[in-house]
Symmetry: C2
Subunit: 334 residues, 2 copies
């Protein structure tokens, strides 16, 4: 099936570009609440499932052993912008385990924050693995290895004991088999598995409620989502959509973006999990889609819904800052 257009980009009175996608919302009993488009198609979740991938950090006891609070757990679930606060916290997490950035196998890139990139260049710096948007997740992986006494060399590779812990968590939470035929390599070198989009919606309904989990896993999941909602800046960075969405209703909305147009989200008060994918991989469109879906699901809170609807309709500006168009959800998301 062809997924519907969910977001349009206008210029003047004309629709200039259009983005298709699929959306799945499930409750914690495994019942579909909203299904748009093909939600059975396998999708790589990329960074949208970092909170699930961080379960072993908590469940292994590493997070407690190293004294990690909301800030460290939020960074372990983050795609951060490489701003100084992110880099410093990742450094401190590694130090707790007696490690430093040399242990990171995620690769280096300039900060995804443009301002942080300019500041780093002005200071004569060059990026290292700590600036990688995944360095918090990788620091969490390394801390898990250190606490569990697992040799960390090659920890990014499929089959390494750490990645097996991550895969177990992913399979258990999503209920979907993570097999070699649907395994790809993520930008930060770890395995990522394509499974049906709806599996992530089901999984995040469980993450938000603990329904069907062991008491330990339920507690770990709640702790991780709560940490992200308490420290949204550390999950993303200055000006990022995830921060604005989580700050719109503190403690009530969990969202996490993933590369190639993915979002996973949870609404603990409603016991709902959400997953969506923009077919073409555009982050701008995925941001508009998740904001519109959240506005719909939280429609009974009119002020919040209005704020979320505003976030779903960002302006397109010229280089002198004039508003020349906008991004907007289509009727399919009403």
């Amino acid at each position: 099936m062809t997924n519907p257009v969910l977001v349009e980009v206008t210029r003047g009175a004309v629709v200039e570009s259009a983005h298709r996608g699929a959306v799945s919302v499930f409750d914690a009993d495994g019942r579909p609440v909203l299904e748009i488009g093909d939600t059975d198609r396998p999708v790589f979740p990329r960074s949208a499932v970092k909170a699930i991938q961080a379960l072993p950090l908590v469940e292994s006891g590493a997070a407690d052993a190293y004294g990690f609070g909301n800030r460290e757990l939020a960074l372990a679930c983050a795609s951060h912008s490489g701003e100084p606060a992110h880099v410093e916290l990742a450094t401190a997490m590694l130090a707790k385990a007696g490690l430093d950035r040399k242990a990171l196998e995620c690769g280096a890139h300039w900060p995804s924050s443009h301002d942080a990139t300019i500041a780093l260049a002005r200071a004569g710096g060059v990026p290292n693995a700590l600036h990688n948007n995944c360095s918090g997740k990788h620091s969490g992986f390394l801390c898990t290895c250190a606490h569990a006494g697992i040799s960390h060399g090659g920890y990014v590779k499929a089959g390494h004991a750490l990645q097996e812990m991550v895969r177990e968590a992913m399979q258990s939470v999503t209920g979907a088999a993570h097999d070699v035929d649907h395994c790809g390599t993520d930008g930060c070198s770890i395995p990522t598995y394509a499974v049906p989009l709806k599996s992530f919606a089901r999984g995040f309904a469980r993450m938000a409620t603990g329904r069907g989990f062991s008491p330990e896993r339920a507690k770990a999941a709640k702790r991780l989502l709560s940490a992200c909602m308490a420290e949204p800046f550390l999950v993303a960075g200055t000006g990022k959509a995830d921060v604005a969405l989580m700050q719109a209703a503190p403690g009530r909305i969990f969202v996490k973006t993933g590369a190639e147009g993915v979002y996973c989200a949870a609404l603990p008060e409603l016991g709902l999990g959400i997953a969506l994918k923009c077919d073409d991989g555009a982050g701008r469109a995925a941001e508009g889609m998740i904001a519109a879906v959240l506005a719909k699901l939280l429609g009974s809170d009119e002020a919040l819904a209005a704020r979320l609807t505003g976030l779903a309709r960002p302006a397109i500006e010229s280089r002198v800052g004039a508003k020349v168009g906008l991004l907007r959800p289509t009727a399919a998301l009403n």
Copy 2:
């Protein structure tokens, strides 16, 4: 109608994202040679038509009066990367007309070249309007005003004498009415008009051959396309797709990208004009589409077609440079 998927992005053995689009190829007699998808839908050409927008610079006599050769004309048709060579040449063009960057109304942004941005920041600099990817086009506009004795203030606005010259050229070359209902504002503040995609294919077939043009316009069009093909770096910048495509067959391929997934192109030896639009506006996809279309049209030159086919299939890499997927054209472009 729903346009077909023309480009896929893979990760491992899985298709992660997909891009739809439309392609139109016309000959200079106005006959369609290849039509894929809905080529009647109005599309903003954005920067893909800068060579048409530069016709008044040549036809007014300004280019000759200021001694502009291939380099200056290529920059007038450019979406450049803001590298030092681009900035210096735009500065020199303005100086010929007794102007400087204060006359530019395009707005400032950091160079689209990441390396140029880092170098500018390291040198303690900040971007100005000369770094705007459109500064060459705007310098051409200002030179046209200066030579023609037109006051240049507000030269970016619809209705200004300069923009009326540009609109006349656009309407005449494409054969499509440019009306206020389909007028938007481009990122650099000038008007851009949405007209059927196929109009641009027809127009570039004329630009490449001069068929149906006055002798003066035919000469100006040939001069502009030849300048771009002679100086591809000045039309784009280091590592850009347009440079690689034009360098693949010097003097035989003209291409120009536009924002939101547009390409216009011409093959003078075959008398063909090409226009395409990726529905979702993705530049990566538009680059793959144009390379695949060029490979198809130039298939009788096997070595060239192989090179273009390679450009249509760039690798997707992890942050440590491992090949983890690729972008590839679908069978619809075979």
